[in-house]
């Protein structure tokens, strides 16, 4: 165990005792919190500090358990509540976990065979993973999915951010009307969008082309970008712009150095939504695209209906693992940044 500077709350509570008894000097860190001078500390002082911090951390945990004044029904309710939440989380995750063993199925069906339930190694096989990696159809699908989602996200993020910046300006005319129009792709039922695009894009020659699918997906993704970025901008302090302008920055510098860094989390969040929307989209692609634009969902749909191919389960397992990996990495990165900045998660 090492002493972390983010335990500053604990250090603050120990300060009197530490300074009086052990003469540990406290210094201010760059955020103005007083923490022990960990650089110039003797080993005896360090040992004392560690022990106290460890105890304090344990108490912290205890403090977050039930306060003693709760009555029995309230305690029962508290635990029932946690059981309900646990059940809901289980409900959310279990169907995804079921897929993983099924993807190792030996027969081309979506059921657990007797052999699998008995954990007989004959009942398991890697054939679907092999199929996925060697099949031309799937390779093309992965390539198309990435290509289409990437460009659709770029278009929708760029246009959406620009529009949100415009919508957040103080004198935007017809704001509500335009906002409704821009959000409409999210509101209109997907089958209607798909059918309409099928007819319209056929007329203008975009049916069965990569461009057509990219435009369709970009249109479906922009509402997410618009919503997240406008939400971020509502909390934006306009005084920052005025301050930067008063300090002599031209508008472009203000934009790139002040506004962009602050709205980046919102933009990235919106871009992620748009990316997932395009990557996972199946109805529009089936109508507007053709075989050459087959995406991963297209292959999966065909795998459920026309083929009975558990290859889609192996594709799904790989996607789940990639998503878990990505989300965990993001979380670890975020924690690392926080630790470096010395901010305790509140």
């Amino acid at each position: 165990m090492i002493l972390h500077d983010y335990d500053y709350e604990i250090y603050a509570s120990l300060r009197e005792e530490a300074q009086d008894k052990l003469k540990i000097t406290y210094v201010a860190d760059r955020y103005g919190n007083y923490i022990p001078d960990i650089e110039n500390i003797t080993s005896a002082q360090e040992e004392w500090l560690l022990k106290k911090v460890e105890e304090a951390r344990k108490i912290k945990v205890n403090v977050s358990s039930l306060p003693p004044y709760l009555s029995i029904p309230e305690r029962i309710w508290h635990y029932t509540f946690w059981i309900i939440c646990g059940a809901v989380l289980f409900f959310l995750i279990f169907p995804l976990l079921v897929i993983i063993p099924l993807s190792f199925n030996e027969v081309p069906f979506f059921t657990f065979t007797k052999k699998m339930l008995a954990f007989d190694p004959d009942g398991y096989s890697l054939q679907w993973y092999n199929d996925f990696f060697t099949s031309l159809n799937w390779q093309g699908a992965v390539r198309n999915s990435v290509f289409i989602a990437f460009f659709a996200t770029i278009i929708s993020t760029f246009l959406g951010t620009l529009a949100s910046l415009g919508l957040s300006r103080p004198h935007m005319p017809y704001r509500t009307l335009i906002m409704s129009l821009l959000i409409s792709p999210m509101i209109v039922p997907l089958i209607i969008s798909a059918a309409g695009m099928f007819f319209f894009y056929s007329r203008i020659g975009l049916q069965g082309t990569h461009l057509g699918v990219i435009l369709a997906h970009a249109a479906l993704g922009t509402p997410f970008v618009v919503i997240t970025v406008t939400a971020t901008l509502t909390g934006f302090d306009n005084n920052l712009i005025r301050a930067s302008q008063s300090l002599g920055a031209p508008p472009t510098t203000t934009f790139f150095k002040v506004i962009v860094p602050l709205i980046t989390p919102g933009v990235i969040s919106g871009a992620l939504f748009a990316f997932v929307t395009s990557f996972d989209e199946v109805v529009v692609v089936l109508f507007v695209g053709s075989y050459k634009q087959r995406t991963i969902p297209w292959q999966m749909f065909s795998g459920i209906r026309e083929q009975i191919s558990p290859t889609i389960l192996s594709a799904a397992t790989l996607l789940i693992l990639i998503t878990i990996g990505m989300l965990t990495t993001l979380e670890l990165l975020r924690r690392r940044t926080e630790r470096l900045r010395g901010v305790t998660p509140s």
Binding site: P95, L162, I192
Partner: protein, 422 residues
């Protein structure tokens, strides 16, 4: 004193009156704002609104008749369809010539299919006539045509053609609402209940979507509450549990529900093992409305949890503590203080889930059987299989109208500008 103040106009540094200068600056600001929004607006109009408008046109368009049978349609206008008499030779002559032309340009079956949507039998009528029409070379065309197919000698045939020959038709909307036009009298009748499909489907779609919205709310609310009250570190880990299904493909989730809910599936096997049911009593949870509801609740749950969570995070915990310290029972504090504050989140989540549920087509197709399909399945069927694009569009427009209605309601109650997605 006041008079003097009124008479002195305020001016800016360069001498222009303040009002004008202000108006000019505001106009500039408005123009810049609009220019920033314009690219996206243009894009959405072309890529999205255009298609929807196209569909609207398709639902009433009937120009195919005037295109393929122009002279016959015109000649028919002079005929009284309720007179009990067949049209005269001029009409027959026109139609024979036009069917010959249609056969040459391979359009005759299309027009036959179009009329077939209104009254069955026309497909074969036009196809057969197309084969035999080259033998009819000289007048009287009436006898020649009736010899080719005796249905041309029935008044009903001509009534159908006449009443469906204008450029626009309401036939698709009538069919979408389970009405039928009786061509022999020109009246609109509603279909008997055993033949009416669409109103039932609309009703079922709305009912099941409402049920799904309610279920996601009941299940999602406790989860969002827990996520917003625990420490950020734990909530960030648990949010992964919510985001993971959200980012997993819809098809994959639906497939796993198929594996779970089948009669020989995981859940039934488990219940058998535990002894809740016996072998004959396996629950039928799939290929019916239950399957649709369960699968869609699972799929749409993140859409309820995320807006609720983002709103709940902004409610200060001190409100509830203050209420309790003033003597309120914790439950009362919750209902009177906390719950109303989550209103915008509930509204956003509910409308999102409801609208998504109404428009879903893949999941009901795979797990709904026949009692769990939605109106969107019918739209897809008409576009891909029956090729009655007019009817598919009409149903789509009605569905869109319903959705817009609910959306306007949402805007009145909650407001678009308050939408957040966490």
């Amino acid at each position: 004193m006041q008079k003097n103040q009124e008479n002195i106009p305020l001016v800016t540094a360069d001498g222009t009156p303040l009002k004008i200068s202000l108006a000019r600056a505001q106009r500039r600001s408005k123009i810049i704002a609009f220019l920033m929004v314009f690219p996206l607006l243009l894009f959405i109009t072309i890529a999205f609104i255009g298609p929807i408008a196209d569909m609207l046109m398709l639902s009433v368009e009937n120009s195919i008749v005037k295109k393929i049978l122009p002279k016959s349609a015109e000649a028919l206008q002079k005929w009284d369809e309720y007179s009990g008499q067949l049209p005269d030779e001029e009409v027959f002559a026109a139609i024979v010539e036009e069917i010959k032309q249609a056969k040459a340009s391979k359009q005759h079956t299309k027009i036959g299919s179009r009329f077939n949507y209104e009254s069955s039998g026309f497909s074969s009528l036009f196809r057969k006539t197309g084969r035999k029409v080259k033998k009819i070379k000289s007048p009287p065309f009436k006898d020649g045509l009736i010899k080719a197919d005796k249905r041309w000698g029935e008044i009903y045939t001509w009534q159908v053609i006449k009443q469906n020959s204008s450029n626009y038709t309401d036939g698709y909307y009538l069919a979408a609402l389970d009405f039928k036009r009786e061509f022999s009298s020109g009246n609109i009748k509603s279909l008997e209940s055993k033949d009416s499909i669409y109103l039932k489907l609309f009703f079922r779609t709305i009912l099941l979507s409402t049920l799904i919205t309610f279920l996601t709310f009941v299940i999602g609310f406790p989860l969002s509450y827990m996520l917003s009250t625990v420490s950020t570190r734990i909530s960030n880990i648990l949010i992964i549990f919510v985001l993971l299904p959200f980012w997993t493909s819809l098809l994959v989730r639906t497939t796993s529900w198929i594996a779970l809910l089948q009669q020989e599936g995981v859940i039934n096997d488990f219940l058998l093992l535990v002894g809740f049911i016996n072998e004959d009593g396996r629950l039928a949870m799939i290929h019916n409305a239950t399957g649709t509801v369960v699968a869609m609740t699972h799929i749409l749950l993140p859409f309820m949890v995320l807006p609720l969570f983002s709103v709940m995070k902004t409610i200060p915990k001190s409100y509830v503590r203050a209420a309790i310290s003033l003597g309120a029972h914790p439950w009362k504090a919750f209902w009177k203080i906390y719950f109303p504050n989550t209103g915008p989140g509930i509204g956003a989540g509910s409308i999102l889930v409801f609208i998504l549920a109404i428009g879903y087509y893949i999941t009901p197709a795979l797990v709904g059987g026949s009692s769990g399909t939605f109106i969107s399945n019918r739209i897809a069927y008409h576009i891909s299989s029956s090729l009655n694009w007019g009817l598919g569009s009409a149903i789509g427009v009605i569905l869109l109208g319903i959705v817009l209605l609910f959306f306007v309601l949402y805007h009145r109650i909650v407001g678009i500008n308050n939408m957040k997605l966490g």
